[in-house]
Amino acid sequence: MSLEFTSSEMMSVTAARALTNDMTCFVGIGLPSEAANLARLTHAPDVTLIYESGTLQTKPDVLPLSIGDGELCESALTTVSVPEMFRYWLQGGHISVGFLGTAQIDRFANLNTTLIGDYREPKVRLPGGGGAPEIATNAKEVFITVKHSKRTFVKDVDFVTTVGFGRDGKARDNVPHIGRGPTVVITDLCILKPDPETKELVVTSLHPNVTREDVIEATGWNIRFADELDTTSAPTARELDVLRDLKARTNAHHSSTQSGQQ
């Protein structure tokens, strides 16, 4: 009997599987946070999750709405100041994986969370870089999870907030003391990895029921596929159960009004 699941669930489960028990992961809010906590609640119970608000080794019962919800602090091993977080733990080399989301990504895995259009006269002003620019260079490697669409997967990002491999794929060459950069991008359609030589993103695995045409249609550049293209394993019943429970708890928690108004 095959299970029914949505493409969003497929993405979260696949992203969660990228994390292993021995990793120390600096977690971005949103999709990365969902995937990281799913990993912790399934196959990687001891994965170390760290959020930029300073919470080290946190184990929230519901997904945080912000990077500093009380739940993160109360369930953490300890909480450190923000400068300590960025200076000692991240820049000091203690983070194995930075797990990021984005608004735009290009073929060299550069991320834009700053704006659409021109910097001085933006069409859409986005929140900005936050912790991502240095998470991407100071973590040993970077995982990215983002929904696949032509608006998101663009040939060249409008602004490089956070470097993948630079506009020419060579931005990390000969820069000492930084991480390897993005090693995997997980979407609701497929898994992409950078070509070892050119660093251009290549599709390495299609999710169940997704065709090459679906991916081509949702990508803003002439996307390449690996010679040996895998099919991603479907979510298991347990993965789906845990994910759905987590999301239900989270929705109930964040919609409970305390005061309505201040």
Partner: protein
């Protein structure tokens, strides 16, 4: 020694039009009551500094207090945009504001350098990012020992720092618990500081390694119960995530924002 003042007196005495003001609190302990008092006193031309502008700066920018914003992440956490900030940046309402944009790591380092009395902060930052192209306060220097190329940013030295904390004792020593963010650094980096607290108590009840700011490092203390709502004060009340979601609808439209401001800031909180 810190002087105990009412919130109204503290803002009136220590925040002047044109000042550079840094209000911190990383998601936790955001000084909303102080922000609303600044709006009520119609302070103008402020250069506002804050890592995550959050709803408090959305409200202050929409109310017309800001001339310039220095920040590193300007969104409504987990919800989306800050619509008042976007309206000011994209459409110049209520007036155009200048922005200077950093990453979190750079801001954290800049505050720490400010607290340390240094002119600049050095970090392994901004590699490959376009941010240095749009922010002339980001430079690169060569390490004199290793030759490594490192980013440098000027330290943050605000005229006034404003933070919220759980408790002060009667001498004016302040306890901060939970996510302590960048609050200690911003107070030590600033020329003057205002700390609002949930309550004033006889004994702080601080553990040996607690985050405590001594009275002599603070300019003014004002009691402001629930002064961080709709953010939160660990041990006192939770983050009002529902209000953060509601804010998206309130702030999207200029009229609903102004009605909210009139009712909830100008009328409700007036002294």
């Amino acid at each position: 020694m810190a002087e105990f003042l009412s919130l109204q007196e503290a803002v009136s005495k220590h925040i002047n039009n044109g000042d550079t003001v840094a209000m911190e609190g990383f998601t936790h302990l955001i000084p909303f009551a102080a922000g609303h008092e600044i709006i009520r006193q119609e302070k103008r031309d402020l250069t506002l500094i804050r890592m995550t502008p959050d709803l408090v700066y959305d409200q202050m920018i929409g109310a017309g207090c800001a001339k310039k914003l220095i920040f590193s992440w300007g969104g409504n956490p987990g919800v989306g945009s800050l619509h008042r900030l976007r309206d000011a940046v994209e459409k110049g309402w209520p007036h155009q504001i200048e922005i200077l944009e950093h990453s979190h790591a750079a801001m954290a380092n800049a505050y720490e350098a400010g607290a340390a009395g240094l002119p600049l902060a050095v970090l392994r930052g901004y590699v490959g990012s376009d941010l240095p192209k749009v922010n002339d306060q980001i430079k690169f220097i060569e390490c004199p020992f290793t030759g490594e190329r490192l980013a440098a940013v000027p330290s943050v030295r605000p005229d006034v720092a404003v933070i919220h904390a759980q408790r002060a004792d009667r001498k004016g020593n302040v306890l901060i618990e939970g996510i302590v963010g960048i609050q200690k650094e911003v107070v030590l980096a600033a020329k003057r500081s205002i700390v609002t607290v949930e309550e004033v108590v006889d004994d702080l009840g601080a553990s040996v390694n607690a985050c405590v700011l001594p009275s002599w490092a603070i300019t003014a203390i004002a009691e402001a119960p629930k002064g961080a709502k709709p953010s939160y004060a660990l041990g006192y009340y939770d983050r009002d995530n529902a209000f953060y979601k509601d804010w998206d609808g309130i702030a999207r439209d200029r009229d609903t924002f102004q009605a909210w401001l009139k009712e909830n800031v100008f009328e409700k909180g007036a002294a």
